[in-house]
Amino acid sequence: MSFEKTLRSFILQNFLFTDDDSALSNSDSFLERGIIDSTGILELITFIEEQIGITVEDEEMVPENLDSIDNLVRFIGSKQSKDH
């Protein structure tokens, strides 16, 4: 499964309590739509760090990196390309 799909499935099941894929679009802002609050974002960071073994630094904890599936996929992609 691609990381995007893993992420979607984690958010749908853990935050939205559904397996309906249409409940979340990749561009939805988690914070503005009330899907995930700031504590939820910390949960998401723990998930990402454990799943793909990256460390999210303090200065990277901005909505531009973490506040939607699109932002997360872009952010993780750029972290991984820096590591290689």
């Binding site: 609050d37 723990t46 904890m61």
Partner: protein, 331 residues
């Protein structure tokens, strides 16, 4: 500049406000709560001190019961200010050290276990506090743990979510055990319990649900902290209380409320919430509070985020449908 701005926008008629609150307290006790007096837990801080003084002004010292509820991490100055206030107001009061109860229920053990996950060397004699970071810089709020070894060395690390939640859950025992005792004495005396949040605490959810958030009346929840200080001076409270710096008095290292929860020190936070409530643009807040426009924008975002995140702390248990009953009649 901040002081001048605060004075300009938050000044009010203290005597009229005291009359309004004390009238409301008497009326509420008589017509809604049907209780004979008020219990106030006094931390030695400005909010609970003003609430105790307002209670005495409303119904007289014989009908107000004060509680001083220190524990292992409370500063000794808090207890001495609490005693000073109780003597000043001439009320009956009780000092009950809640450390043995907290020890028995596992508060310190659960907290220290989570701290050791982050700092394995943490042990007896070390001190700790949690510091918030991020929100005032436009980042996601997160939390750092600061520990101090017995020789005074401090170290800071970002807390994992699991550890953060466990430390907060454990320390919340403090507020919840205190509230249990407040209600014991209120039930024993047929009194009501006074909750002591100021407006910023109430609005931003800086309280523990079923802990300090629980009460029968909250007489200063509509007042900014600056206004609470003004009432303290107007009510002639002891100088030591009027000049005390706000702290959480919950962690063993000294911890300002702005460090733990707010984006700004209380004077600027008062101004920020006032400006937000008045729909003032960020540029005006920046000017009033001496902040950059970027910072003012982040502070507004942080206010909104905290309102959203903590809304459920204010709610009663939710029901599937509206259930008719006396509660719905009184609201």
């Amino acid at each position: 500049m901040v002081e001048t701005a605060l004075h300009k926008v938050l000044q009010f008629d203290e005597a009229a406000e005291v009359a309004r609150i004390t009238d409301w307290l008497r009326e509420t006790l008589r017509t809604k709560l049907n209780r004979r007096g008020l219990v106030v837990a006094m931390s030695g801080g400005i909010d609970s001190s003003v609430c105790a003084a307002l209670s005495v002004k409303a119904i007289g010292p014989q009908k107000v019961f004060g509680l001083l509820l220190p524990e292992r991490d409370s500063s000794p100055q808090s207890a001495s200010r609490g005693r000073l206030l109780a003597e000043h107001l001439g009320i009956e009061y009780l000092v009950h050290d809640i450390a043995p109860t907290l020890q028995a229920i596992g508060c310190y053990q659960w907290r220290d276990q989570a701290i050791k996950q982050t700092f394995p060397e943490y042990s007896e004699g070390w001190k700790n506090k949690i510091v918030i970071a991020g929100g005032s810089e436009g980042k996601i709020n997160h939390f750092n743990l600061v520990v101090q070894s017995p020789d005074g060395q401090t170290q800071t690390r970002r807390l994992g979510l699991k550890e953060y939640l466990q430390i907060v859950a454990a320390t919340n025992f403090k507020q919840r055990i205190r509230k249990t005792l407040e209600y014991f004495h209120a039930d024993r005396l047929n009194y009501a319990v006074v909750g002591t949040p100021n407006r910023v605490e109430y609005d931003q959810g800086f309280f523990v649900k079923n802990g300090d958030g629980s009460a029968d009346v909250k007489p200063i929840a509509h007042l900014y902290k600056t206004q609470v200080y003004a009432l303290a001076r107007h009510l002639g409270l002891p100088r030591e209380i009027c000049s005390a710096t706000p702290t959480t008095d919950t962690y063993s290292m000294p911890q300002g409320q702005d460090e733990f929860y707010y984006a700004l020190p209380y004077q600027q936070m008062d101004l920020a919430l006032w400006a937000y409530n008045q729909n003032k643009p960020e540029s005006e807040l920046a000017l009033l509070a001496g902040l950059s426009e970027d910072k003012a924008r982040f502070v507004y975002k942080d206010i909104e985020a905290k309102r959203k995140t903590t809304a459920m702390l204010h709610w009663p248990a939710l029901t599937v449908q509206v259930v008719a009953g006396p509660r719905n009649k009184t609201q």
